[in-house]
């Protein structure tokens, strides 16, 4: 920057103005963009158009629907709690402790994110199934059976949803100023007290967002659940499973169940709007 630039630059009181390019948007970009938007929105609109609005109240209160909904909410919540209990410490370890193989651990954590959920379900069966690596021992020692139970649903959902929580919380921890933790240490706080009294409150919004995301993912879980826990109404049949089953017998019921899941998704998105979808 030359001296002239310095002199010519506006006074600090002037509001910062972002340069914005004006002019025609190229059709070559506009057209695919519009098509892309349509492609994302049209199916949802179709769901709304075909919904049996007149019989909606009765259908929503059918015992099957309510049972599946309750089971979904209970298992998704339990899975989220499990993810919080295990995922937050894991995220802390990844963000704050410099240990050998940290990159490998981080990669391992994200595997369920890209793994087809059905494969996850198969893998869970191989470990926790009755004749699995741990399942046989759990059965013979404690009499605990995991596959095809509600606990199995929670396990399958947690397996698929935990990466969302870990990644969100680790990001929040990395974004938080680590010097607050140093300040806490100079005031006599042990690492554990620092974690509970300083770190957790500082990253609480990040943990909340991660938990909501995790819960939403658990609520929609299908592949791992049906593989590992089966499809027993009242026990392991969650909403997505019910939608799939209803599709073969009663299309209207499938639409109603889908609407419920869509509503939940929209509510979650709205609650996260500041954190995830607000532009710069």
């Amino acid at each position: 920057m030359t001296l002239l630039d310095d002199v010519a630059s506006p006074a600090p009181a002037a509001p910062p103005r972002r340069p914005r390019r004006t002019g025609r948007v190229p059709v070559a970009l506009l057209l695919p963009a519009a098509l892309g938007l349509l492609f994302l929105v049209l199916p949802l609109a179709g769901l709304l158009v075909r919904a049996p609005w007149s019989t909606l109240p009765q259908r929503l209160t059918e015992p099957g629907v309510l049972t599946a909904l309750r089971l979904s909410v209970v298992t998704a919540t339990a899975a989220t709690l499990l993810c919080l209990a295990l995922g937050v410490p894991l995220a802390w370890l990844l963000a704050r402790v410099d240990f050998p193989g940290r990159r490998v651990v981080r990669a391992l954590v994200t595997v369920p994110l890209v793994l087809p959920p059905v494969v996850g379900g198969v893998a869970l069966l191989l470990v926790f199934g009755r004749r699995g690596l741990l399942g046989g021992w759990l059965d013979s020692t404690f009499g605990v059976t995991l596959p095809f139970t509600t606990t199995g649903v929670v396990l399958a959902e947690a397996f698929v949803a935990m990466p969302f929580l870990v990644i969100a919380v680790e990001g929040a921890l990395r974004g938080a100023d680590g010097r607050y933790e140093e300040a806490a240490a100079t005031l006599g706080a042990s690492r554990w007290t620092t974690f509970t009294h300083v770190t957790l409150p500082l990253v609480a919004p990040g943990i909340a967002a991660g938990a909501v995301l995790c819960w939403a993912r658990a609520l929609g879980e299908f592949g791992a659940t049906i593989t590992f826990a089966g499809n027993f109404p009242g026990r392991t049949q969650t909403m997505p499973l019910a939608v799939y089953l209803a599709l073969e017998t009663d299309l209207q019921a499938a639409i109603v169940l889908s609407l419920v899941l869509l509503t939940v998704s929209v509510v979650i998105l709205a609650s996260l709007r500041d954190r995830w979808i607000s532009g710069p």
Partner: protein, 377 residues
Amino acid sequence: MTADLTVRGATPRVGAPLLDARLVVERRSFRLDLPLAVHAGEVVALLGPNGAGKTTALRALAGLLPLSDGHLTLAGRDLDRPGRRLWSPPERRPIGVVFQDYLLFPHLTALDNVAFGPRRQGLRRRAARERAAGWLDRMGLADHARSRPRHLSGGQAQRVALARALAVEPALLLLDEPLAALDARTRLDTRAQLQRHLAAHPGATLLVTHDPLDALVLADRLVIVEDGRVVQEGDAATITAQPRTDYVARLVGLNLYRGHATGHTVALAGGFELTTGDAHDGDVFVAFPPSAVALHAARPDGSPRNTWPTTIGGVQRHGDNLRVQLAGPIEVAADVTPLAAAHLRLAPGRPVWAAVKATETRAYPAAPPARDARTDR
């Protein structure tokens, strides 16, 4: 002010120092090697340019950075001694820190920020809050006990940070650029208050700053660090009178030269000779203030022994006067009144004669005086 500081700085300290350390920290291309001793009730300022290693020293003392070598003994307890594999984590050191940008916990009120330390010392919530309220009261912040840090002004946040560090009753109080985050107006008030609180602190205090005014006002003794080493230490009066490096000379506003003295004549590098009032033999520093330099349009007659022809390098405002940089044969800053400047028609490149009276120069031995036994240990 200076007179008062001289008296405080000259107070003899008896017994072993509370803090006795030799801080050695090695990083890729940087080595800090800093002997440091601070007595109970003493305020020492670590003064130096950016990158001198001041903050590294502070972090090593707080336990946020392990020593590579040397030792750190506080109140008779070894907190860090790599030679014997001794190291205490920060939470087990009786040390309080006021960080540069305070780092008040944003989710806690001012009161709970101050009560945080006492709580960790095992006090019950009520007792901790009572102690915290006492400290806030002492800082004049009783009305802000329930405020969150983001609702506090810069000066208030600084005092809460000080209260938080003092509430653990530390043997050593560390302050990292305590006034740097404040605007000029607030700084004046806060500096005066800080001086009062530091004087009342019974433990040792170490202040890290690059602002010479903070150091001169707040500290009993100055330790000047450059490039990870101590270049000079002493009370404010000694350091301002006898700077030993260009950095210190600039801080206190003196012209400083190093040369070889034979009686009243000092030969500088490059063959230039200055006549001084003090007689010495051997390597010396020569210092004189810019106000001691007189400028003349023609060669002056009469008493001044040091006269030489030179040219004007640059002219700047300096208080009510003008500060003139003289180029060659030695670099000199001279202060002239605007009237004299107009009379001489000063402009860069203009030839003038400079004159310095021998009686206005000070010469002192360049070899540093033998250090106290306590700092050399």
